[in-house]
Symmetry: C2
Subunit: 243 residues, 2 copies
């Protein structure tokens, strides 16, 4: 039996509590970050609060292994006197959305080698994709995630706006959005690239620019140029790939 305290009441905290509650070998309790007792009676304290509050919250915990769940905060930000680690789940958590923990990568790190096994056992009690990732790598993963999640979602939003402005149901783009994500599960993004930028179709690029507002034009131009420069010294362009 591993005793776990989850400190925080945001999305990550509540999803973790839901998951651990179903794991028979874990005993879990939720603690409000403003209400930490001097002594938590737990083997692992998981701090799931905003990045800026991690240092202060951790300084109040005096026993067991203390870990945070942030992608961008280094392990050294933890200010407890005891053992330290990180328990980062690479997923975007939204309120009221179901989370399938079995598909989520767990990125774990500990200061002491001995604690790594404890954290791995904890991760395996609710998930099955466990990666040993140090603080430097985790920062880079979080950065890459901003591109493939936050920024990608914003491009979906621009697609949504274009549909809305032209009385087209957003519905019509959904299969393409799924297929685009599906394709890079088995081939590299470079191999999957198609479209006017990739095949240097200047006529279509010009036609598209005329249909966009100034703000959208800036994004279109920058990403088009970026695609073209990524292919300019690349002999692997597949002729005939087409959106």
């Amino acid at each position: 039996m591993i005793k776990v305290s989850i400190i925080g009441n945001g999305n990550v905290a509540s999803h973790l509590i839901n998951a651990f509650t179903k794991a028979p070998e874990i005993e879990v309790e939720q603690i409000n970050s403003r209400n930490i007792k001097n002594k938590l009676h737990s083997d692992v304290s998981i701090i799931a609060v905003s990045d800026g509050a991690i240092a202060e919250v951790s300084s109040k915990i005096n026993n067991g292994l203390v870990v945070h769940t942030s992608g961008s905060v280094p392990m050294s930000e933890l200010k407890n006197n005891g053992n330290k680690g990180v328990f980062y789940l690479l997923q975007s958590f939204t309120k009221n959305s179901e989370v399938d923990f079995s598909s989520i990568p767990f990125c774990i790190e500990t200061e002491n080698k001995n604690d790594l096994q404890l954290l791995e056992t904890l991760a395996k009690s609710i998930g099955n994709k466990i990666y040993f990732i140090d603080s430097e790598q985790r920062k880079k993963i979080h950065l890459a995630a901003v591109f493939v999640n936050n920024f990608v979602n914003h491009l979906y939003d621009i697609g949504f706006d274009i549909c809305k402005d032209n009385s087209i149901p957003f519905e019509i783009l959904k299969p393409l959005i799924k297929e685009t994500a599906q394709k890079v599960q088995s081939i590299t993004p470079n191999k999957a690239q198609t479209g006017p930028a990739q095949r240097n179709d200047q006529q279509t690029i010009q036609d598209h620019l005329e249909l966009l507002n100034t703000h959208q034009q800036k994004i279109y131009t920058l990403l088009t140029n970026s695609i073209q420069s990524s292919f300019s010294n690349d002999a692997t362009i597949e002729a005939g790939n087409k959106l």
Copy 2:
């Protein structure tokens, strides 16, 4: 029985031939665009060639309904003397990838109302998501598709590069990529937006910029600003959403 000629030998042409071959009510033949006989004996000729060749190829066909498969070319670009239409499949076709036609939106348009039923029957023989879309709307759909497919894939490619440069398996990003596409199947992209830009986390934004090369910084900055301006007058931000 509908007799269909597919003109072209690219990805769209070969995927269409594969699909129609399995449809019992369709008789399909493939024709090389350089080898069009004066008289094709088909009810529908589907021109699946590069955008720039559509006008010339269509001018050589003298019978039946002639349609092209391009997202960005208007129907009026067809130069046959007879009936005209468009048979646009909103999907990114890559060589050697399996295509599930049942999930692909078919965008159809005809000059004569009478031909619309013929084209609908044809679409229904291999698919089941049929939309009546005029040339103006189709241009906008194609444009939106560039954002949600071509540009999104390029952001995956940047994520791939960040992983590669830091000895992180790209594998680790794949569940997040899938989940990001999955989320907007049921909620709007605006509701699904998370991350440092959306919650105006300037510290993380600055930390991220320091980790990127000049080219990546430009994209990061433009998309971050774009997310922030899309939320600046918006009361629907969900506090606590976090990547």
